[in-house]
Symmetry: C2
Subunit: 216 residues, 2 copies
Amino acid sequence: MARLPVYLRALHGLAEHGTATVSSEELAAAAGVNSAKLRKDLSHLGSYGTRGVGYEVEYLVYQISRELGLTQDWSVAIIGLGNLGRALAGYGGFASRGFRMAALLDAEPGIVGELIAGLTVEHIDKLETVIKDNGISIAVLAVPATAAQAVCDRVVASGVTSILNFAPVVLSVPDGVEVRKVDLSIELQILAFHEQRKAGGPSGVEQEYLEAVEGQ
Amino acid sequence: MARLPVYLRALHGLAEHGTATVSSEELAAAAGVNSAKLRKDLSHLGSYGTRGVGYEVEYLVYQISRELGLTQDWSVAIIGLGNLGRALAGYGGFASRGFRMAALLDAEPGIVGELIAGLTVEHIDKLETVIKDNGISIAVLAVPATAAQAVCDRVVASGVTSILNFAPVVLSVPDGVEVRKVDLSIELQILAFHEQRKAGGPSGVEQEYLEAVEGQ
DNA sequence: AAGCCTTTGTGAACGCACGCACAAAGTCGG
DNA sequence: CCGACTTTGTGCGTGCGTTCACAAAGGCTT
Ligand SMILES: NC(=O)c1ccc[n+]([C@@H]2O[C@H](COP(=O)([O-])OP(=O)(O)OC[C@H]3O[C@@H](n4cnc5c(N)ncnc54)[C@H](O)[C@@H]3O)[C@@H](O)[C@H]2O)c1
Ligand SMILES: NC(=O)c1ccc[n+]([C@@H]2O[C@H](COP(=O)([O-])OP(=O)(O)OC[C@H]3O[C@@H](n4cnc5c(N)ncnc54)[C@H](O)[C@@H]3O)[C@@H](O)[C@H]2O)c1
């Protein structure tokens, strides 16, 4: 379930605070969800709570980590070291959650060979070798939209089955390959939508369109 | 609806390709959704299709843009000009979708005054003034997790009702304020979860926990 | 002009996730 | 040792979003 990472984050916060045990009500508040939903989610991993007391923080952290596959480290490759790729490569928050930035790849001659966050940028031509040699299982795509599908195809052909895509395109992949996309423009557009709603919503449908067309 | 931006993106692609008219089947494929869902979504904006033909691309682009509030420009402030904030500030894809980066704010003396993407970074102390003077309606938070809630509170107090948050914390805001969050660690964790599933899933529950505890 | 063909718009069934509410279970104080 | 209190785990009703399937509608061909 997609909420487990949120619970995990909340639990880490509690653990640092020295809390040993937590009720579903408290944890739900920290994670921003309904307490019944939280309990139901946790019950799917087995029954780790004590009635009348709550959940033991440390044990729950371990159970969720195990469920998410965070008891092992994952090797990640970043492809495309432009604005975004660099920001990701330099971010320390991944390593602390068990994600090791294992390889950086780009096509631009001026970028290949550069040292970023302690790693040398490799040429995209070496994709297959780099993935195999470093045991990469997750690829992060931070390349332009026009290159994304082609790069994706190569990554998949190299055996990677998990992709995090930042390019604003719908990637098509074979069954068994998991793609998650982060599209910041879409996030802003959704905010704009709500912002407009508050301001009264769209009005004068036909008029506005005609005016807009005439204005060209 | 959160899918409209995806449709819009697909339509822009078709328009650039010179396509004048598109069927729900084609557009659904381009957007990666079911065609019945697409038609139902579009029917909520009114009936803009022609039976036997499909939808006129240009008209549909206008209708969706209007629904999303993209017929007007929105002014955005980026708060926190570290790794991520810089990447966002330097990204050209926002301006082309009607989002104007209107102000950059940071607390670090070394960063305030710096020129990034044609804008001078202002001090966070001027938050209220900057927001009012530039007509900011959307704030992007790219500050450390520890500072996020405090900055959020100030932003909300300044009248902003739409926030895009990159910090890995659950922000609490008053009713009427829209928060969208982007947490890249969570995306990776979800990928890891599926990756692990493919590899056979978690096994040996008690044993693993005991081993892990003993190993400390 | 008429019939055929394509495609929309939507009624209805289905499934799923959410949340209420409560019984079972366990703790803690006396 | 017992009773009261707390909190979990879950059965169940509800509401929403998705999908199928089809009738209505419009264009196109002959
Ligand atoms: N920067 C942002 O804040 C932001 C925001 C939203 C979306 N995005 C999206 O993220 C992606 C990257 O954005 P960016 O700003 O870093 O772009 P960028 O142009 O700065 O960087 C792209 C990098 O990809 C490399 N590249 C191009 N083709 C390649 C190929 N075939 N193989 C390997 N590498 C290749 C380029 O050399 C460049 O270094 C884009 O798709 C963009 O639309 C970025
Ligand atoms: N960089 C990434 O790829 C990445 C990935 C996932 C999540 N994040 C999250 O995004 C946020 C920013 O990440 P980053 O890598 O850019 O961090 P960073 O440390 O590079 O930048 C943070 C910036 O915020 C500024 N800042 C600190 N306190 C402030 C305050 N009170 N008011 C205004 N500005 C303040 C700092 O001066 C700094 O410039 C963090 O919460 C991080 O967890 C980043």
